[in-house]
Symmetry: D2
Subunit: 153 residues, 4 copies
């Protein structure tokens, strides 16, 4: 199984892409802060916007559109194999959060993403997700070639 | 389009089935109560347990197993066409909630369910969902015959 | 108890405010569409943006800031007393949804909001929420005066 | 900051407590499996049931009840400082999941929990959460003495 190897930097300069989102009231909990489970959809939303920004919208990756997914072999999903989050300060309702991300540790079938979540100049959380490429039936599949070009050294 | 016609009774005796669940901390919000959106999965969980209790587990309905779904024509989903909830008292973390339900207003392709949510003897909420039967591609389909037998007069 | 009386129009022209959001993959379900429970946070997000747009951010309403909430008496919450949603077409992953809203049926302690959810020119859902004003301890309280000015005839 | 040090065992015998839950349809996603973010509330639900089982219901911990929380100093929350999940097989709708857990790495203000998620005899996921004790205002606080007794030598 793939193993998290990325160490998320706390310097925004180390991240080539940032997506801004706003926390929802529905995501708060009785401690008055954003519930820790709500961060995972934040990471996912940032991933989706990143794929769109680089011309490979996740919708097309899933549908297997030849020109965007590089796939003549049909659709692909980037299944989450592993996730870790370090919560440093509590996010609150209505915070505007910058989710920065960078791809790394690309192999033939997996890749990793490191994340930095900040509000203004303050770091609120860091995270890493490990992804595996699967086909429409959930079976491991080779990554589209364009993914490899994102995370190279 | 189907239109909600059931009026949920506030008397538990009017409901043939009850499912007990416990609220989660993840479902609370910054008001210190269960967020109103969390009630919809409660209703769904009760529906699923009801279908299991009467010998038609939703899994089998979706898969189109002949003996349980009555379907030789393949799987069915009971899409939600309409939902309404009346919140009478706020549920809180760790409450044990009894979700009672009754089916009614069955037509050839739709049915309705009325719900009563209580904690102990107190009514906390009532709700109604309207469902439409769809096939595996989301197209309207006839209800399995056994549904009609549940909601009759 | 307050009772839903608004009938949501299907004409975007009847709504003074619109908020655009994008559906998340986390909000999809195994039917391949946006799960019906995910719509409630969409309505809430649109309410929050509306309050911000008219100069009464919900954060300030909750904190009881005199200048924005009209409250010398402390914070207010707009508790959800009732919600109903009519699902007309299924939203899908990555859809850009316009959530239009209008306030109406304002009383001394409650108000209602009607919603129209569309993608492009197509209506996907309509909804109504009924809200009651409560103080920091969840007790019914008078609405700030500015709410009344929003929903008047 | 606390750092995850536990390594979750894949042998159920290493876990003194197990909580069984059933996945919800609302927790599935368009890949037809349980969305990865839904696992965090599963871990939380198991923690809550564990605290109840050992006579320290989380409700009482939060309220600061002297006899259960060991707290004359008021309520405590066990904030999540860190979480990591390794997804090994995809959970599906209606699966009955056994969430086993064990506490370890207890310090004066933090502790960790390792988790094993299985369906029948198969391991589906492992996870670790790191928790910090905070008071009602979110400030770091000493752990109740009884937590130290749970986490072994």
């Amino acid at each position: 199984m793939a193993r998290q190897s990325l160490q998320p930097s706390r310097d925004p300069q180390d991240y080539p892409f940032t997506h801004r989102l706003r926390t929802r009231f529905a995501e708060t909990d009785a401690m008055g802060i954003i519930h820790h489970a709500a961060y995972l959809p934040y990471l996912e939303e940032a991933r989706v916007e990143y794929l769109r920004a680089i011309g490979h919208p996740y919708d097309s990756v899933r549908a297997g559109d030849a020109e965007t997914s590089g796939g003549r072999e049909g659709g692909r999903d980037f299944a989450v194999l592993e996730v870790s989050v370090q919560y440093r300060r509590p996010l609150r309702f209505d915070d505007e959060v910058d989710v920065a991300l960078v791809i790394g540790a690309v192999t033939g079938t997996t890749f990793q993403i490191a994340y930095l979540l900040s509000v203004g100049d303050e770091v609120y959380a860091t995270a890493v997700t490990v992804h595996g490429c699967v086909d429409g039936r959930g079976r491991p599949a080779r990554l589209p070639a364009w993914v490899g070009e994102l995370g190279g050294p």
